[in-house]
Amino acid sequence: MELRDNAPSGPIETAWDRHRFDIKLVNPANKRKFEVIVVGTGLAGAAAAATFGELGYRVRSFCYQDSPRRAHSIAAQGGINAAKNYSGDGDSIYRLFYDTVKGGDYRSRERNVYRLAQVSVNIIDQAVAQGVPFAREYGGLLDNRSFGGAQVSRTFYARGQTGQQLLLGAYQALERQIGAGTVTMHPRTEMLELIVVDGQARGIVTRDMVTGKIEAHLAHAVVLATGGYGNLFYLSTNAKGCNVTAGWRAHRKGAFFANPCYTQIHPTCIPVSGEHQSKLTLMSESLRNDGRVWVPKNKDDVGKKPGQIAKEDRDYYLERKYPAFGNLVPRDIASRNAKEVCDAGRGVGPGGLGVYLDFADAIERLGQKAIEERYGNLFEMYERITDEDPYQVPMRIYPAVHYTMGGLWVDYNLMSNLPGLFVLGEANFSDHGANRLGASALMQGLADGYFVAPYTIGNYLWTERTDQKPVTADHPEVKKALAEVEERTQRFLSINGKRSPDSFHRELGKLMWEKCGMARNEAGLKEAQARIPALRAEFWENLRVPGSGADLNQSLEKAGRVADFLELAELFATDALHRRESCGGHFREESQTPEGEALRDDDSFRYVAAWEFNGVGKAPVLHKEDLEFEHVKLTQRSYK
């Protein structure tokens, strides 16, 4: 099967405008006739559901949380990029586009990224109109800060809670539509299966997490905005509930999974403190604006208190190696360098898995009050978790799994290869290539939800209207999907083994971190490929899920998610193994420059790897979408 991106040809600057003119519109009276399901209420899902509702579609929105306001977009701290050039420092749509393609290590689709940069400016307008309290200058204009991978200040922020404020804006727009009756909300409801009829996505099967009721919901199109799968690693900065189930169920039903091995390891997280650790906490990358990263030059100084190590005995390794970007190098480079100094025995803190992020110079230069203003809540959070005061002693940080650039394959219209299945935000693979720049996740989620899907879905609905037959609850495909979920639920409850879902999840996560984490090699990946099926087999024989399926049962919820992670893990390892190049957040030890930097292999791997499901434990089928670069010149990324 040939993968077509369906992007318009011609000049890139006018591609989206021309596309919007060329695609079909649905007139306002007809919009009421179409039903759309949106799964997930993060930035992409809430923005899409609200906008579909405003346009007049009949929308059903689903989330596993008790309220749509709690989706994990809420935890994004630092900011959102937009090519407003309000700082007058040379930014433009073209520059944001260029930076994003380059930052993604040339593994994203140019035309999608260009559109993203274009609509970025509308996002800021929209958010401000909704009352998002972005930071302001004294004159009342919007303030900007700089972020990794860019030499301009284009990041808008609301203290350290930008994701929260943007999500609340989208959530409030969504609640307004719920109140108006255009959107029906189903909180505490988890999607467990996709319903495909005549090759088209026509509905989902859900479980009510309070009553246990398993139900089918039918529609003309299904939108997945279900986030990333970083929790594959057990320890990540994702919320505990984040999972791959919706995407994975769609993958099993025919949707291709693209670049699953593209994981972002965020450089600034609070290090692991012990075996009890249940998740990792991110410290916003914006801290690197004012914090200086260092470790002791000499191994012998590792045990000393940071204050006892003289300036000349400190290695500010990012400033030393990358003078042009310094502490603001992109995330993948910052992470890899932290791992390198720790592997060399110069890491600080428990287990030697940490580096310092030091604010002493910034506090001396700007005063404590200015630092408090910028990062107050982050410093408080750090102190609560570690019991150390970062105004007095440097923070300790270490990389952690944060974001997954991979996801379900989509075309320019954000539709997967399964007609009628749209995938937005982190759940799709589209815009970040092999590495996402800071402050770009919020931008992509909202771009997809507010400004892209609302146009492209109309085109699909109107084009397909005559071919789509009505589907009712007694359709064999609906019954089959319901039966699959019932059966699976009963199976979890009846194994009655000895181990909890969490214990399997922890074991899987550790394996993935060690063999498929920040740096990978052939031997390790092959070992992972061998060990994952064994762990999965044990899961299905030795799992214990107490209680029943007919009420609130958190062990049952976890079991379903871990089961899907155990299948995704194998695909992840397969993808990582096949990509014998380093690129972006993906460092393949066999492929590096003489200086130890990531070495891409454009001749062999300048493509999107989209995998087709072929049965559990069976080799998936690889489909390639070749990437053409007409505007951005492929070079070895350099931030020196």
């Binding site: 949380q65 008790d66 309220s67 958010a127 401000v128 009352g131 204009l141 404020q165 307004r176």
Partner: protein, 257 residues
């Protein structure tokens, strides 16, 4: 650390619940309160029991999902801290802890420590927004917002909707939650056109959900993990009073869209 835990167990809404006592050992002082409960749950599961259900998600203090009453304090003893960010070093070895769900008529218990806070969403539906259709906005810098006002809005917008304010209030009042949103949107220039309606409709919904009134105990602000100020309630009362006086139409269900 060794601890004795008395945990509220309740099978479902409407059932009679009771405290169940567990002892846990070898708890790291560096673990969070919820990580301590994870340990308890693994032990319960190992012994063939059903783990304690509790709500949680981000474990970074921002999603507002978690929340339980620990020794009579909503979110436990540490100020400005959600349960997930509370760490065991704040307790002493050998401590005895009483762990309960939020208790309020408008927040029915679903199971163990999990409650239904859907009432909060319905209060927002009633008017906790600025009507701005996607794509209809003017350039962001055409709306000037002075830094002081922006900061004031942000202080109120920091509310995470956890419901600790309701749990701590002797009247189970939701005024701090409602007032935080009314303040956030009401101080901004973008929020002016709907300011009166917003105050009237949100307060009416708050009352309809069965939350109590405010009698100035101030417990809500005391337990609020985000430091939302009582001043917001004063502002809400003022907006509400003004809106009621000048209202030309009776309260009616909005038709948005």
């Amino acid at each position: 650390m060794r601890l004795t835990l008395h945990v509220w167990r309740q099978k479902k809404s409407g059932d009679k619940g009771a405290f169940e006592t567990h002892k846990v050992e070898n708890i790291s002082a560096d673990s969070s309160f919820l990580e301590m409960l994870d340990v308890l749950n693994e032990e319960i599961l190992e012994k063939g029991g059903e783990p304690v259900a509790f709500d949680h998600d981000c474990r970074e203090g921002i999603c507002g999902t978690c929340g339980m009453v620990v020794n009579g304090m909503a979110h436990g003893p540490q100020a400005l801290t959600t349960t997930c960010q509370l760490h065991m070093r704040k307790f002493k070895d050998g401590d005895e802890l009483w762990i309960e769900p939020w208790r309020a008529k408008a927040f029915p218990v679903l199971r163990d420590l999990v409650v239904d806070r859907g009432a909060f969403d319905r209060i927002i539906q009633a008017g906790g927004f600025i009507s701005a259709k996607s794509g209809s906005a003017p350039d962001a810098n055409e709306i000037l917002v002075g830094k002081t006002v922006a900061d004031q809005a942000m202080d109120a917008a920091a509310c995470i909707g956890c419901g600790a304010c309701v749990a701590a209030c002797p009247n189970a009042s939701a005024m701090l939650f409602t007032a935080a949103k009314i303040t956030h949107l009401g101080v901004l220039p973008q929020g002016q056109p709907e300011r009166d309606d917003r105050a009237r409709n949100m307060v009416a919904q708050m009352d309809a959900e069965g939350f109590g009134g405010c009698t100035n105990h101030g417990e809500c602000a005391e337990v609020c993990p985000k430091g939302i100020s009582l001043e917001t309630i004063a502002r809400m009362n003022r907006d509400f009073l003004k809106a009621m006086v000048i209202a030309r139409e009776p309260l009616a269900a909005r038709t948005g869209g």
